[in-house]
């Protein structure tokens, strides 16, 4: 018997090839991994927002009590205020710096580029310490700001230092992709330089500017390290989390603030998503690269500009370096190397430094593999939209999450007695996993962008040639994306060296990290020693980055002969 025969032929279900099956299985597996390292830990803390201190479900009671506290609005307003001001300062500053690096002829351009990266290598403690040395009540330029450094001014200056390289990196990329033909056209039409700038340069970098603004905004909103050291009485949402969780062990309230904190960051990243989607179309146009020609007046101006900015960065770094050599600030300014003998100040001494290096290397290796393979699976799997959407969402989540929230979530999730993964707890492994999760978003985005730039038909060709996808991944996709893969690894290493807020809950007796030790040492009053440890971290990361650049130029250059025409 046939049921009412449809006049349409039945919908076709295409059998999956072994490749398709493998890819989908991979995506599912990857989604499970992300769920385990991001989703579930976060949920296990954020769920507490709906419980009282004894774990009873109380619905929205915590939200009601939090929102009825006037302090919230102060903190929220302060957070928005400081984030807005930082964004308004950092983005133009970074834009002109990036403009100078890409569109003008600078002497020692590589040096200016290198200096702009330095803040990425530094723990967020470093600018705080340096600013106290510079503008504190005993500082070299005390009173120069017309008020105390502690509070709004301090946060803004430290955040500018801290966020500047991130914005610069994004904007350099945005300005590098410019099409020289547009400028030739504008020149031919006799447009004035100012008009060219506003009609060609700015619109061309529009997406980069939006991205940079969102990144800076989110970083400032979620960071508590700077606000804690130099924020004074200036309450922000991130310090509110600190007060609830560390000060009062009130996880429910901490979770509530954590949720509130997610909102602006999540909105920022939704906007970014929309913008990024449009940008892909923009990049597909075949552009002719722009090579700046020397022009004396402009080049002099931008050299001066970059010198001032680079000097600012170097003064902060130099101040920390000098501070690390001082015997007893400010009453005994004689110099000593004793502050570098960390064993005298922290039982784990130099061990914590080597732990950090081990952890950072682990995060770089494990994280890069996971991020690249994961992004590849998610980009190259056919259809399967729902699962891929879930993966994309999970990969975006970490950027919006303050480290304290993620770290506590890790305790609740990974330490649960019935979690089969609880053997990981209190090992180096969990620090690696946590760091990878904490910095997941940027690595995932880098990998995805790199994958989007290669021809989508490679997989089709491979299928027609009956070559399994994993073979094409190994022989073609991964080698082509090698620069992006190395970038991700360096990013993870550098962040692994400086991360504090999340791992502070997770280290055990033999896995203490240098970045955490620096915070502990600073708290115990040994400012110079904390500065010394920060400097050692900066040097390590800078050395690794230099190695990367050298390897890129001399070693990989040979392996990548195919890139040359």
């Amino acid at each position: 018997m046939t049921l009412a025969a449809s006049n349409r032929s039945p919908i076709l279900r295409v059998a999956m090839s072994r490749d398709d099956l493998m890819m989908r299985l991979g995506v599912v597996l990857f989604a499970v991994v992300l769920l385990v390292i991001v989703g579930l830990p976060l949920w296990s803390l954020l769920a507490k927002a709906f419980e009282d201190r004894d774990g009873k479900f109380v619905g929205l009671a915590n939200y009601v009590s939090y929102f009825s506290t006037p302090a919230l609005f102060d903190s929220a307003l302060n957070s928005l205020h400081v984030a807005a001001v930082c964004t308004l300062i950092v983005v133009p500053l970074a834009f002109f710096y990036a403009y100078a690096l890409t569109r003008t002829v600078l002497p020692v351009r590589w040096l200016f580029q290198g200096i702009s990266l330095i803040p990425i290598f530094a723990p967020s403690l470093l600018p705080g310490l340096a600013l106290v040395y510079l503008f504190g009540n005993q500082g070299f330029f005390k009173g120069a700001l017309g008020g105390p450094i502690y509070g709004f001014d301090g946060i803004v200056i430290a955040q500018i230092f801290y966020c500047f390289p991130h914005a610069t990196l994004i904007l350099v990329t945005a300005l590098t992709t410019a099409d020289a033909r547009l400028y030739e056209a504008a020149d031919a039409l006799g447009a004035s330089k100012l008009r060219v700038f506003f009609t060609v340069t700015l619109p061309g970098a529009k997406y980069g500017l939006i991205s940079a603004a969102l990144v800076v905004f989110t970083m400032v909103i979620t960071d508590f390290g700077i606000a804690k050291v130099i924020g004074g009485n200036f309450n922000v949402l991130a310090t509110d989390v600190y007060k609830q969780v560390i000060g009062q062990q009130n996880f429910s309230m901490g979770a509530v603030v954590g949720m509130v904190l997610l909102a602006p960051a999540a909105i920022a990243f939704l906007v970014d998503r929309v913008v990024q989607r449009k940008q892909v179309a923009l990049l597909t146009a075949r552009a002719v690269p722009l090579i700046p020609k020397p022009k004396l007046g402009r080049d002099l101006f931008f050299t001066a500009f970059c010198t001032v900015v680079a000097a600012g960065i170097l003064v902060i770094l130099g101040m920390a370096a000098w501070g690390s050599l001082i015997k007893y600030w400010p009453y005994n300014l004689s110099l000593t190397l004793a502050n570098y003998d960390f064993t005298n100040f922290d039982a784990s001494g130099w061990d914590s430094y080597f732990n950090s290096v081990e952890m950072a290397v682990g995060a770089a290796v494990f994280g890069t593999t996971l991020m690249f393979v994961g992004a590849w699976l998610n980009e190259k799997t056919r259809e399967f939209y729902l699962m891929r959407g879930i993966v994309q969402f999970l990969a975006f989540l970490p950027m919006a999450v303050p480290g304290l929230v993620l770290g506590l979530g890790y305790i609740f999730f990974f330490n649960a007695p019935n979690n089969p993964l609880n053997f990981l707890y209190a090992t180096m492994g969990i620090l690696v996993v946590n760091t990878v999760a904490h910095f997941y978003t940027v690595g995932h985005l880098t990998a995805t962008t790199a994958l989007k730039q290669i021809d989508p038909e490679f997989e089709s060709v491979s299928a027609s040639l009956k070559v399994p996808v994993w073979r094409t991944f190994g022989r073609v996709t991964a080698p082509i994306c090698l620069p992006a893969i190395l970038d991700i690894a360096i990013y993870l290493f550098v962040n692994g060296m400086t991360t504090v807020s999340s791992v502070i809950f997770l280290y055990s007796s033999d896995t203490k990290l240098a970045s955490v030790a620096a915070v502990n040492i600073e708290e115990s009053g040994a400012t110079a020693v904390a500065a010394a440890l920060c400097i050692v971290i900066v040097i390590t990361s800078a050395a690794v980055k230099t190695l990367h650049v050298l390897a890129d130029r001399f070693l990989l250059g040979r392996l990548q002969a195919w890139r040359r025409r």
Partner: protein
């Protein structure tokens, strides 16, 4: 030397190394590893560990150390699957909180009877036993005082005088346990009404509420501030390092807190944990505490670490620890409403 000879040598060396690892591993295996959570100062970790292990060669201490707030948060978050065997050197109020949550294994250590009564939980068997007490003192920078021609304060009442405007820092009680014990001390000594009135006045002179109990004396020591109200021991060690500060115990009395020892319920090494609890309350241990703190649990141990204020113990406020714990949320809410919310504009 031929390649083969080299290889043979390498193999022999490798074998020796392996054997060495195996032997040391075996020696290791005989020791019980105790995971001890603590908030004692970094420089105390090594001496404490060595002293205990010298008397208990079969036990090895593995420290996990961070600030009081972080360690307390970590312990409570790990409640369902405790990782620590023993808590040795964490604020008694934190340990009391955990005892109330059923996280502590009650045990009266061998030497508990000899200790001063306030250094014990008062339960039978004891949930925790105190080690030493620390005070929220006034750290006064004499060098900066000379420059600014400021008089030395001797009482809390002095601190609300207008000449100290914007020159005082103290810990934010919402972020720091030391901050809370400081204001709980004032409320006890002066009574609630007068206490809040005092804080209203003091607020005019406070330039900043910091997120840590150590920071105020550190900032005073470095001349960042004239006066820091905070953790005494930090002030004393800074002074020993050469800071021009005096530690002043205000004559009205002051808030204080103990560091305590307790066994974590669910430990797999209960016997070893008990040995540590016994040792931690012994006279020998108290002498060790006495190297760093002026006030220790054992009344027979006379201690006076360098640069410590002399008469602190006499002036310790009669603080009711239970009252402190029960009223914490209310007091913090009140404090936050009065000072934290509106302190922001002042920073600018």
């Amino acid at each position: 030397m031929t390649i083969f000879a080299t290889m043979r040598r390498a193999a022999v060396l490798g074998g020796v190394a392996l054997a060495a690892i195996a032997i040391s591993g075996a020696a290791f295996a005989q020791k019980t590893k105790l995971t001890v959570y603590t908030a004692i100062e970094n420089e105390q970790l090594d001496p404490f560990k060595k002293a205990f292990e010298a008397d208990n060669p079969t036990i090895e201490i593995a420290w996990v150390r961070d600030s009081t707030g972080v360690m307390t948060a970590k312990l409570i978050a790990e409640k369902d699957n405790p990782r620590a065997d023993v808590i040795w050197g964490l604020a008694a109020s934190s340990v009391g909180l955990m005892a109330g949550m059923g996280m502590i294994e009650p045990y009266t250590p061998a030497n508990a009877a000899a200790l001063k009564p306030i250094f014990k939980s008062g339960k039978s068997p004891e949930t925790w036993v105190g080690m030493d007490a620390f005070l929220a003192v006034v750290c006064f920078n004499t060098a900066e005082a000379k420059k600014g021609n400021k008089p030395t304060p001797t009482s809390w009442a002095d601190l609300i005088k207008p000449e100290y405007k914007d020159s005082i820092v103290m810990p934010n009680p919402a972020s720091s346990g030391t901050g809370y014990l400081t204001i709980a001390g004032w409320l006890t000594i002066m009574g609630e009404e007068a206490g809040w009135k005092f804080m209203d006045a003091l607020h005019q002179n406070v330039s900043q509420y910091l997120h840590s109990g150590s920071a105020p004396c550190v900032q005073a020591a470095k001349g960042e501030r004239l006066i820091g109200i905070g953790f005494d021991m930090r002030g004393a060690t800074e002074k020993t390092k050469g800071a021009p500060i005096d530690l002043i115990v205000p004559k009205e009395g002051l808030g204080w807190e103990m560091e305590a020892t307790a066994i974590v319920k669910g430990t797999k090494n209960l016997d070893a944990a008990k040995k540590l609890a016994d040792w931690a309350s012994s006279p020998k241990a108290n002498e060790l505490y006495g190297k760093y703190y002026a006030i220790v649990a054992n009344p027979t141990v006379k201690s006076m670490p360098p640069n410590y204020p002399a008469d602190g113990e006499k002036l310790m406020a009669k603080v009711d620890v239970d009252w402190m714990a029960k009223n914490r949320e209310r007091i913090l809410a009140e404090w936050t409403k009065r000072y934290d919310g509106k302190s922001a504009p002042k920073a600018k």
